[in-house]
């Protein structure tokens, strides 16, 4: 018997189809990452400086690194590269080759580490080049984004999730006479140092020890990433002669500064002691002293 399709049942079936599609996409997406969590780790933690099969960037191409080095060596190097460069010949020569750039310490869990090494090995063996999946802006850059990015950078506008303004730790060419903070490197030429996808990845998931901690619970929103990115890209145009600032070991102490500071402090104290040398004197003591023959 012929059953006419009622309005009601039409919607019912449409809803079913939509649900099925969503489910499929969800399963596929989950499967995509579920299959290889190492890709995600590499993308967020390593890709801004390293390629697999695409040539050297700030750091060396990691193709075949799992064959060149032992697993223990790799794990130790990834977690504490600077410390290792002081005691290991190979690590030291790597640091020398890429000087003044250093590799910041990476805090990875054991699972992340294992999956990362597995992914590098798989990709190296298959000869496939790593391409990031998430390094995209949510929308194209508009003209007004540069200004908004500047406001975010300088802290005139707060990050929605409470992140610290960039200028707290970073200087930038167009920032103004006092400059920004000096804890992190100057960011004027940062869009020369990093290519667009790398820079976007850093903004999405900062992978420098200090920034990782500071932004763990205060991620930038998609909109903010677009705006800050736009501003960082723009700043090089404003000051075209800026040099690329290397990532340096923030724990390193310059002895000359310490010594100078110490010497000036001592000089200042001696000077104050001279200027106020009579502060412990008293009237009676002076009178008695004067009367002595």
């Amino acid at each position: 018997m012929f059953m006419p399709i009622t309005k009601n049942s039409y919607f019912k079936s449409a809803g079913l189809v939509a649900f099925a599609v969503a489910l499929l996409i969800g399963i596929l997406a989950a499967a995509g990452f579920g299959q290889d969590p190492g890709r995600k780790v590499f993308e967020t933690k390593c890709f801004s400086c390293h390629n697999i099969g695409g040539g050297n960037k700030q750091g060396p191409d990691l193709k075949g690194v799992t064959d060149r080095r032992s697993e223990e060596w790799l794990k130790e190097f990834i977690r504490t590269p600077t410390a290792m460069s002081r005691k290991d010949q190979d690590a030291a020569s790597l640091f020398k080759d890429f000087a003044p750039e250093i590799m910041p310490d990476q805090s990875l869990t054991d699972e992340e580490m294992d999956s990362l090494l597995k992914t590098i090995k798989t990709l190296s063996d298959s000869g496939e080049m790593f391409t990031p999946e998430g390094a995209k802006l949510a929308r194209p850059i508009r003209r007004s984004d540069v200004r908004e990015g500047w406001r975010l950078f300088t802290g005139q506008k707060e990050f929605e999730n409470g992140g610290v303004a960039c200028s707290t730790c970073h200087g930038i060419g167009s920032f103004g006479s006092y400059g920004g903070g000096t804890l992190g490197p100057d960011l004027t030429a940062t869009n020369i140092k990093y290519r667009d996808p790398e820079l976007i990845l850093i903004l999405q998931e900062p992978n420098f020890p200090t920034m990782t901690e500071m932004f763990r619970d205060h991620k930038l929103t998609e909109e903010e990433i677009v705006q800050v990115f736009a501003y960082l890209k723009h700043s090089k145009e404003v000051s075209p002669n800026a040099a690329i600032a290397a990532t340096t070991d923030s724990g390193a102490v310059e002895p000359r500064f310490l010594i100078t500071g110490f010497v000036f402090t001592v000089l200042a104290l001696v000077g104050l002691n001279f200027v106020w040398r009579k502060r412990h004197g008293n009237v009676r003591g002076d009178i008695v002293e004067r009367s002595k023959i």
Partner: protein, 497 residues
């Protein structure tokens, strides 16, 4: 006219024997406490001498009192902004060594010492650290050293003398000194009140006693610098400053302050004075030489009906006015011009007045012969052993006329009474002496009576302060205050609160 009442004092230095009973009475009542060991709200100094704390009169060092540039008096310690800059480190404070390190003796050792070859001794022990110490100074050190060249020679008032006069003064066998007992002057223009950043110091409306509120004091110690007489003291234990309270709990119950009560020489007089608060600022804006006159000018005659009307308008009670009429201070200061303020050039209008002492030459030594015989009964005051310039530097900001008159009057009174009781002087000499200082016989007799024969009730005429009226303004429930007297705050002073 803004008539106000001040309980004020006269110390008759010609009668002071320097026994320090007043100091001990005060110490036992008020400053026998931890943190107050070094304080002497009442102290007796030997003059010439540097006093306590050492050279307190030298305001180039201590920056106390007011300065006047002819327009408006300002604190010598600096403007408001400079005081604020120094608020955490006030540079012009006397050190503990300028007062003295208080000590006691290890008396137990005299009883508990083990048997040995030597006599046990009671070594001096610091009352601050509890350790053995060498005594280097005391609260009346120049007295203990009998006007030693160290302390006596550094008296700031000696600057008023010529080199020759100074040399004569320190000649052997010519050495001369007198005593200067000091308490808080309860000034009309108190610089300690003006300097306090916490607003803790105030002058009581009903009797003008200057007090430090122990609940409000925050230990800035600006008052210690600002008071030119160095009569506010910092208590290191409670973290509050303290000063002479003129024994107000005693005054309120009609008793003389402890130092007045115990005075052996009966040199202390207390009574009310009425003054015109409207003229106050102008009276300190005059040149040094006119300060004493300006000070006397603001004091009002309690017999004047206009003054009485103004007093009543300001809430001064009829019975209080009766007491003010009998005030011995009014007679000494205003009627007779005998009593002078101590260092009026500090411009705080001190309300403790001093009758300057006579220091006549009583004998001469010639060729080794000690000769008590003198041509005259007393040597004229111009030949006093302490030059008039020294007295003027102390009591009249350099104006010799005032000290000269005060001494001549005392001289004339002596001659007048000598003629009456012994009769060995020429009546004409007495007449000339009286005339010279513009005094009649009645006045001479009155001065004699109040100087030599006053009873306690004549010396100390406490104007009833009518605390009940002051309390009524603070507390509606008068019955709650009935029978109460004395210290208002019963909280122990606590550092930092």
């Amino acid at each position: 006219m803004d008539v106000r009442l001040q309980t004020s004092m006269v110390f008759h230095l010609d009668k002071c024997i320097g026994c320090h009973t007043c100091s001990i009475a005060c110490k036992n009542v008020w400053t026998d406490r931890e943190g107050a060991e070094y304080m002497w709200w009442n102290n007796v100094e030997t003059k010439p001498g540097t006093g306590y704390p050492t050279a307190w009169e030298d305001q180039t060092k201590y920056k106390g009192g007011w300065e006047s540039n002819g327009e408006k008096p300002g604190l010598k310690m600096g403007s408001k902004s400079s005081r604020l800059l120094n608020i955490f480190h006030n540079p012009d404070l006397p050190k503990l060594d300028d007062y003295y390190e208080p000590w006691t003796y290890e008396y137990e050792n005299l009883f508990d010492a083990p048997e040995g070859a030597d006599q046990p001794t009671a070594r001096p022990v610091s009352m601050i650290t509890g350790e053995y110490m060498e005594i280097e100074a005391g609260p009346n050190w120049d007295d203990d050293l009998s006007g030693s060249p160290v302390y006596a020679a550094n008296d700031p008032n000696l600057d008023a003398l010529t080199e020759e006069q100074r040399e004569e003064l320190f000649d052997i066998e010519r050495l001369v000194f007198f005593y200067l007992p000091r308490i808080c002057n309860h000034c009309l223009n108190p610089s300690c009140v003006a300097s306090c950043p916490s607003g803790a110091i105030y002058k009581r409306g009903e009797d003008g006693v200057v007090l430090i509120n122990q609940d409000k004091c925050r230990a800035w110690r600006m008052c210690v610098t600002a008071c030119p007489y160095k009569k506010t003291f910092y208590n290191w234990s409670t973290g509050k400053s303290e000063k002479c309270i003129l024994c107000f709990p005693r005054l309120e119950t009609g008793q003389a302050p402890a130092c007045f009560h115990s005075c052996v020489g009966r040199i202390r007089y207390l009574g009310g004075l009425l003054y015109d608060a409207d003229k106050l600022v102008d009276s300190v804006n005059v040149p040094d030489g006119h300060l004493v006159d300006a000070h006397r000018d603001i004091l009002l005659d309690p017999h004047d009906p206009e003054v009485r009307k103004g007093a009543m308008k300001n809430g001064i009670d009829e019975r209080t006015l009766e007491a003010v009429e009998r005030s011995p201070v009014y007679k000494f200061v205003k009627e007779w011009g005998l009593a002078l303020p101590l260092h009026p050039e500090f411009r705080t209008l001190p309300m403790l007045f001093y009758v300057p002492p006579m220091l006549p030459v009583m004998a001469n030594t010639e060729d080794g012969v000690y000769d008590t015989a003198n041509d005259e009964l007393f040597s004229p005051i111009e030949k006093s052993r302490l030059p008039l310039e020294f007295m003027a530097s102390l009591f009249s900001a350099g104006n010799i006329d005032h000290v000269s008159l005060a001494l001549k009057k005392q001289y004339a009174v002596r001659l007048f009474k000598r003629l009456e009781t012994v009769g060995d002087i020429d009546a004409e000499t007495v007449r000339v002496a009286l005339e010279e200082c513009g005094m009649d016989e009645a006045e001479a007799e009155a001065i004699y009576r109040l100087t030599s024969l006053p009873t306690m009730d004549e010396r100390v005429v406490i104007p009833p302060s009518h605390r009940e009226e002051a309390l009524q303004m603070l507390n509606d429930d008068m019955w709650d205050e009935k029978g109460k007297a004395g210290l208002g705050s019963r909280n122990l002073p606590v550092r930092g609160s």
